[in-house]
Amino acid sequence: MTELISDKLPTIRQTPFDPPAEVTRIREQARVSRLKFPDGHVGWLVTGHHQVREVLGSPKFTNDPEKHHLIDLRFQGEQPEESDKRKAEPGMFLNQDPPDHTRLRKMLQGQFTVRRMNQLSEWIGQIVDDQLAHLRTFDGRADLVKEFALPVPSLVICALLGVGYEEKARFQDDTTKLLSLDSTFKEAMAAFARIQEFMRELIARKKENPGDDMISDLLATGEPTDEEASNMALLLLIAGHETTANMLGLGTFTLLQHPDQLKILKDEPDVVDNAVEELMRYLSIIHFGPTRTASEDVEIDGHLIKAGDTVVMHVPAANRDPEKFPGNPEELDLRRPASGHLAFGHGIHQCLGQQLARIEMRIGFGKLFQEFPDLRLDVDPSEVPLRTDMGIYGVHSLPVAWSS
């Protein structure tokens, strides 16, 4: 069979909310296709919903970063050296395979159950209310990202982990550097090392003075080593605030640009649960990857993926796959059955904090538009700065206005 080969991962978006048109064209031709990597490796690009599920659900693929050929945009012009490859840090279970992954993730799973997260609803509602009251002090116009979308998940995850919100400055800039595709690899790794240092200090403090928080609970189990605990905490901290923040920011921009859909959300508040799933499907903010490497030869959808081949999954394309979402998957439709989307991933690495994220978004979007029913964009939509330069897509800022 002749296979479609792309010279590089298409990244140029034509519109703020849609995946690059080139990726959609690739999916229409072949849901599993070949992709050239910056280091010369010819790996795979998977753009179909069913096929992404199959790869992420298969134990024949590893997520050990040392095994991956790097697709990171940082390397599109900068050849990575073998020594640059990121090692799987102890405790960084996202980048580990079973049995290490299983052992570490299990230590945290009990903290993120549906029941536990539902119990946080009232508390999260209060954080959202306080932040909306803060937004109102801005006299009719503000940057929604800075004053609402970023602070809400930051406050929530800091409190859950037992990190003082006032300490945020110490890791916020470094988190941005770590996730920015404009950072060189060395800059990103230096930022990562500084966040690790902050976490090591935090773990030492929590051992001395335990609090009523997830890190103290984790340490109390006596299961993880200090190094594992600090990397686990680091992962939760980064995962917990960049992701939801970008969904709140980009999701609000999306709703403001789809007034008919926003009207449904305002008129029928019960739609919010499904609206969150549909916004996640439609926006798919993890816009490059996840990546996996075959540990052994494996056949996916009739294609033989050889041991050592690296596979890049394209979540935004998969979440618009008409085979999974018939009708018009390119349209935002808050009433569409959107469950089964891959925005939280699939397989054993599926987002651990997804039930927390759902509650933050349901309450966040719900209350934002109840309290600010006439919220509107305060600039031309073309002027909203998009995070095309970041590993997690979204908007850098969202100037909004309202009648105060």
Binding site: G57, Q109, G110, R115, I348, H349, Q350
Partner: protein, 63 residues
Amino acid sequence: MKISVDQTKCCGSGMCVLTDPDLFDQSEEDGTVLLLVEHPDAEHEATAKEAAGLCPAGAITVS
């Protein structure tokens, strides 16, 4: 219809509880799946199937 769960595969995503809390729960200790109803009535058959399809770890089967 019969539902089976494999706790060794479960990764505690909570998708089953989110889909149908009448059929599934999660352990307080490590978040793994607890099956509440082995033989769902007709009213819950669709959600049992949906939960099996959504489970990221393939830990739920219906037969």
